[in-house]
Amino acid sequence: MVPVLPYGFNSRWLRVDLSSKSLKIIDVPEELYKEYLGGRGVASYILFKELKPGIDPLGSENKLVFATSVITGTPIPGVNRIVVAAKSPLTGTYGESEAGGFFAPELKYSGFDVVVVEGVSEKPVYLWIKDGRAEIRDATHLWGLTTKETVEEIKKELGEPFARIGCIGPAGEKLVRFANIMFEHRYAAGRGGMGAVMGSKKLKAIAVKASGRSVRFYDEKKLVEIVKWFNDNWKNQPGAVSRSQYGTAELVTPFNKDGTLPTLNFRGGSFNDAVKVSGEVLNKTILVSKSGCFACPIRCKPDVKGEKPYETDPSYGGPEYETIASFGPLCGISDLNVIARANQICNAYGVDTISAGVAVAFAMELFERGIITSQETGGLELRFGSTEGMLRLLEMIVKREGFGNVLAEGVKRAAEFIGRGAEKYAMHVKSREIPMHEPRGKVGVGLQYALSPIGADHVQAPHDPGFERITQHLTALGLTRPVNRLALNHEKVRAVYYGMLWWGLEDCLGICKFVFTPHSAGVLTPNHLVEIVNAATGWGVSLWSLMKASERAFNLARAFNIREGFAREDDTLPQRFFEGLEFGARKGQRIDKAEFDKAVKLFYEMAGWDEEGKPTPGKLYELGLDYVVEELYKG
């Protein structure tokens, strides 16, 4: 009998054991896709079930998951991100990062929905996947190369100029704890050290190529209709047009005026020279063209060319908001050419620009306070605003040289190593460096930093201004009352909780946060998403069942962390956020610690977690997570 192909997925995962050099293709039942969808859902399922608690994230027992979803490969703009997950070497929690570009649809078209890599290779290797087949190839000659060199070498070696490649740079090889995985050397699965996990396995790259499309979708006509609707409508959405013209760099000016632009290691919220690093100036100076991701007409990614002496290669992509803010205002730097150069160093060596920028700003503050001196920094005068100091220290981090070797461990470990009160200036949650969104001016962002299963992260839920007025898009999610951005009441907790489930669903499906409402750049709505999943799979799901899948993944990631020993005291913020902003448009504003703790407790109650933040058996059974109950409540 000829097997009936499913709709929306290949039903096949590739499992790679680098220790034994074995490759296994496994068939996966449809029920699993229905419950977990893909992305975070599938990754959290695999990691919870297969990793023993307490393992070394950089040891052979960790597993690295590359996951697509049931809608990856459809022609819908913004739904084709790859989700990469493992136990994070930076945080020790469930770790996850996503990247745009073209890798995810290529992987799925090549016949696999998911790749799970385990074990450690004796020597450097790369994985080559084409049309349902895979092989492990020697990468000794690639070890030490930058990401661009790696991509070019592999394409040449395979004779496949259109292969899509995810790889690590030298920083991943050297196990920098916030090393990333770069796709085509410009799309980053940036956060949480997934590149270090790849480096620990001696896996330099994964290359994929599909000659055709292995997967089929249930209602292709409907998918095309939605694409047409998108193309007819996105130019009527001011947020989408603005994002298309300015990229995320458009956020610099309004955040600065609002007093929520992180400045000088989060001491203040406004930067005198913000205009010099704004999206408007970027467009007029170093921008040479725009790029985008698979099937997306918005093309929000800048290609830039820096001026002498900071020339940059446009193929690495340009700095986006997070990168501009972290190497700019956070370090007191106002030269876009320098920031573009820092961005290129990060992309070439393969490190997360947020963590790297926060690490440099942390070192600058320690230096200015006299906690470290030029003796420790190898002669560097690390003052805020020092462009040469910033670039040199960044190079030392990505190469693990001198004091850079200390910072390559992340700010939490670096502070512990330095001592002398350095921890007070280490801006992180669960060891993960704080992104470029000031929670003292949008306190719900602080809640998502504290409650995110992966440590401080800014794309766990829509930000507070999005909840200040009720639009039809929020109504679709069940939110009908506006909440002030500074409120930390039950309304805000509910908005953040629903928001985390909605954006968590986007991570289960590999969706860009900018494409769907209620994000201000959003074009498609939550109801469109239901249509897309049904057109891809033919399942007949509702928004309710999709949100339940997201909640399932959220609880799995939480359970993973509970099993690793994380508890109530880890769901908090750096002390600095409970003190007033030192300068800027919101000078003096702070988060009230008692109110914040109360909000965290309320969040637990809404989520069905106990007072320690542990999911209750009732909640886990309700989500169909019987095996998690058995694991968390055994004995």
Binding site: Q237, P238, G239, V241, S242, Q245, Y246, T248, E250, L251, T253, P254, F255, K257, S278, G279, E280, Y321, H437, K442, V445, H458, V459, P462, H463, D464, P465, G466, E468, R469, T471, Q472, H473, P482, K513, F514, P518, H519, S520, A521
Partner: protein, 98 residues
């Protein structure tokens, strides 16, 4: 000095996209006393070569949800809101991060 029949309000354009359409960061607009927020927006929609008008209102004449308007620092939910002399109105795109 305006007569008591008129009021002057300050309009600030916060988003780079809107600034590029209107060509200024802010401007003073004179309205008849008793004018409402909707009157101001209709006036703005007619000026600047009609560019802004395409963004302010959706096809059914309602305020485009992709535009955020604040009056004296508070989000405006109602086009019938009365305006007063020296009011500051901010027109922007609601930037919510990411």
């Amino acid at each position: 000095m305006l007569s008591k029949n008129y009021i002057r309000v300050k309009v600030r354009y916060l988003a780079p996209l809107i600034q590029s359409m209107v060509g200024v960061e802010s401007e003073d607009i004179v309205l008849e006393t008793g004018a409402k927020l909707g009157n101001l927006l209709e006036k703005l929609a007619r000026t600047h070569n009609g560019e802004l008008g395409k963004w302010l209102f959706s096809e059914n004449g309602k305020l485009n949800q992709g535009i955020l308007i604040m009056v004296n620092g508070s989000i405006a939910h109602d086009l019938d809101m009365d305006l007063s002399d020296m009011d500051e109105i901010v027109l922007t795109i609601p930037f919510d991060g990411g």
